[in-house]
Chain length 284, copies 2
């Protein structure tokens, strides 16, 4: 279970992230194949040298040759695809994914998976406001975090293999979290922020306000241009941690509102000093 | 009342914005003087050619020579400074300001001001996360909005004079709003966003989360590094519009939360489609 022994890599789902994985791994020299239901995505990737071989269906010939499989489908499709196609998997295959939520899929996959295969979850925390293999670009990994998300069922070797994958892809930082830690963290730093950005854009119908938006409003709403097919799935599959984080944030902004209503200058100054101190840490 | 006839400009308050005004106007060729209670700010500006003359007190000799005065003090200090020092103002002086809120000061100033003088309010919507004349830089105006905020008491000439000032300083866009329109707009695009950014940074004590922040979280919290001496004043002086905007946003994020709790996929998709459409307009 070393990357030097992986001859053939299969990417299932050739969107922005799957495509960027394929580009990076092909450039390094791996033999990368892909499966995607959209024939145009496969054509594009073949023509641009992003993959060596591709199919727009779960082609057994491609699947059974693969030493490792990277699941880059929409979150709700991952478990079903593995269940339906594991009969074609090569013996001792290693599988990872790119899904943005973990608890609701990792245990299910490990439960149904063939005994000889191993699934080690990962979350590449990279993205863009555009989608599809045509926008794929391995540069999106450069300043990003790669999180390996093992359970008790994973071997130390698979964790190491997955950490090596993060480094091969060029991520700035590779770390390890449990599924529960991951989902609580991602609910806060990613899902909550997307809910805030969307709410900011939809809470006021006065379109001429956009004439006056400065950098602050633009910064807070960049991610409000959002893939409406993927994000509701991600929210529902991480409902409890996300609702907890939403409540935590709503409680806090209500505290700030009460301080404003009560002219509580010292209270606000304390909050602002704390937020400034914490935010400056990010730029160190 | 034309900029070509303004020989001497006085800046009162030589911080980031006052200093940036001074730099721009000095470079164009105006004779710019400044008053700031901090002698170090005056020394720095003199040594760096940002101003021609300066004083760390309300020097009558400087005030009485000024054809126009730009009030760049903290919001709570503007009315008092004019009240105390208008006895030194040159006849027919024109005064403007840089304050981020309007309703709570403009009417007061126009009420107490000498009959021969005219006060025309303006808001240069520019800023940085650093303060003081040492960080001043006229480049911060280039992509920013300049809002002229007249009342019924203002002459058409003074509005034109103030619009010309915005263009002289190099603002991307100069527009005109009433004090009430301005305060409602600024409560939304600036004050609400600062409350959100601070709340995001203070609602969770788990400092190791910062290890996992991606671009989204960083974008949403850039302005959480905030001047705690100025912003509570701005919030209190614009309390009603700001509390209204906070409620509008909190109501909307609660709607989104309920949709998540109820697995309301169509509702969320509608919100996301609307937010994406509106946000894409910004980048056109």
């Amino acid at each position: 279970m070393e990357w030097i022994n992986n001859h053939s890599v299969l990417i299932v789902g050739l969107g922005l992230i799957g495509g960027s994985y394929a580009s990076a791994l092909s450039r390094i020299g791996y033999h990368v194949n892909a499966i995607d239901t959209n024939p145009e995505s496969i054509d594009y990737a073949l023509k641009n040298g992003i993959i060596a071989k591709g199919a727009s269906f779960a082609d057994p010939e491609i699947i059974e040759r693969s030493d490792c499989i990277i699941m880059a489908l929409y979150p709700s499709k991952v478990v079903g695809w593995i269940r339906d196609n594991q009969k074609y998997f090569k013996e001792n295959v290693i599988i990872t994914d790119v899904t943005g939520i973990k608890t609701s899929i990792v245990y299910d996959i490990q439960e149904i998976l063939r005994d000889d295969a191993e699934f080690i979850a990962a979350h590449p925390m990279a993205g863009r406001e555009v989608y599809g293999v045509k926008n794929s670009d391995e540069k999106i990994f450069r300043d990003a975090n790669f999180i390996v998300v093992p359970t008790e069922k994973n071997s130390a070797e698979s964790v190491k293999w997955c950490e090596d994958l993060g480094r091969l892809l060029g991520f700035r930082r590779v770390s390890v979290l449990s599924p529960e830690e991951h989902d609580s963290m991602i609910a806060f730093v990613s899902q909550l922020t997307h809910c805030i950005a969307v709410s900011l854009m939809t809470c006021d119908d006065n379109e001429h306000l956009s004439e006056y938006t400065g950098d602050s409003f633009r910064d807070l709403t960049r991610i409000a241009n959002i893939n409406e097919n993927m994000w509701p799935e991600l929210f529902f599959m991480n409902k409890d941690p996300l609702v907890k984080r939403l409540n935590q944030f709503i409680d806090e902004i209500n505290v700030i509102k009460t301080m404003i209503e009560n002219n509580d200058e010292e209270g606000l100054k304390d909050k602002m000093r704390l937020s400034s101190k914490r935010r400056r840490e990010f730029d160190k």
